[in-house]
Point group: C2
Chain length 261, copies 2
Amino acid sequence: MTEGLGARAPKYHRVADALRREIRDGELAPGQRLPAETTLVERFRMSLPTIRQALGVLRAEGLIESRHGIGTFVKEQRRLQRRSRGRYGSARDHQKLLTHHLRHDIVFAGRGPVPSHIAEVMGIDPGTEVVIRRRHLFDKDTNQPEEIGASYLPVEVAGGTFLEEPTVVPKALFLCVEDLTGRHYTRARDQWIARMPTADESSILELPTGAPVMHVVHVARDEDGDVLEVSESIWPADRVIVIDDYPVEQEAEQPAAASEV
Amino acid sequence: MTEGLGARAPKYHRVADALRREIRDGELAPGQRLPAETTLVERFRMSLPTIRQALGVLRAEGLIESRHGIGTFVKEQRRLQRRSRGRYGSARDHQKLLTHHLRHDIVFAGRGPVPSHIAEVMGIDPGTEVVIRRRHLFDKDTNQPEEIGASYLPVEVAGGTFLEEPTVVPKALFLCVEDLTGRHYTRARDQWIARMPTADESSILELPTGAPVMHVVHVARDEDGDVLEVSESIWPADRVIVIDDYPVEQEAEQPAAASEV
DNA sequence: CAGTGGTCTAGACCACGCG
DNA sequence: GCGTGGTCTAGACCACTGC
């Protein structure tokens, strides 16, 4: 679409545009190193800050990544498939496949005050004591961090059980909860948000500057509507694609007026 | 978490941190204007470029927004609820509610070559001729752009029908297709990606610098597995939250080995 | 050590929105 | 006209990596 910016465009836009085209056309392949900033200064006959500003644009677009002392590289665009509604039922097979590629580090398990954004979906006061399990997930092959996860369980559900211990549980968390309580997971709600990472998330997930995260909050309830568990996952959004397969319901309803979605 | 950076941290980090805390603590409320850059130069006793670098960090985090000639403001964090699997069946009521807040502009309807990322999910060659309907959606109240949308239909499905005309269709698109073809939507697959916007998307959606987009590609097939329709939606990710409500399937399966997701 | 990107400065001029 | 943020420069020094 925007091809060949006019001479009126800011210099750093023209530089970003030229480099973006070289990346898109494969002249600069994924993984390849870009010319050094000083080289780009000579090539485009601009000042270093201007060149750096152009690189900042491409960095924010997720196209390149700079490594201090080494160079600037075209990013590899690999995305790990994640499955929506992937915790339960028939999707278990896929989930199992996925988790076998991942290593779990339990970074915390025990009681603590519930964070406010979780309290909100649980319908309790912020700071109420709950059982919290925090984990970091890494790719077994590359050792790259792939997820920051946490589960929040009401004390009535998980208090006094092995879920307060910092060990990997023997099976899917929801099966443990069902066994321990005799209550059944009946309905779930997922909330998806894409946002910019906090500084902590950025460092744990080793995110390049400007890369967003995908933040999923999962609420599970029993048949009475009581919350059994809230889980949240934070993924590096530039390395994730979420897949959702489902049957189309064949209900005959009155047609909506003018909805083109 | 990161509270009070040491004196070793870069200056622009310290400035960003101070302003971030003021925003989080409400001293700088959403919608409020920040002090002018020159004022911040005096307050923090740093150079203008350093102050601007700090503001760039907050801008990339989605916390502030600068308007040329006016000032820099704390962003309002309003998110429009979007429903996953919201096109069909019982979710129609919610979808109808949503679409009644939105105004549709059909920006194109007719035949054209299929883009490569759509061709891939349709299983056809890039550039094959298909029927394309492109739309922009705006909030009726605020007139703010909320979605860039497009539908791609095989010529066998929509060729020669009113779907090639640039008018709003009388009912949900999938109902039109079912009526016109006698074929039935049976299975669907959604693919979700969060990424940085292109320059075009950024300008159409009026995105502040550094704000990501949510990109959903929806594939619908009939009972034979043939593609009836591919739709894509691009939303400003900083103004969207996706909600997915669903029942938990109660299948008894063999437990997975060590999956804590 | 040399080469890379990261931080920081002082200062200039331009473009925009408003009164 | 004035205050705002946007663009651009020349140059300095630091920090990291690998040889």
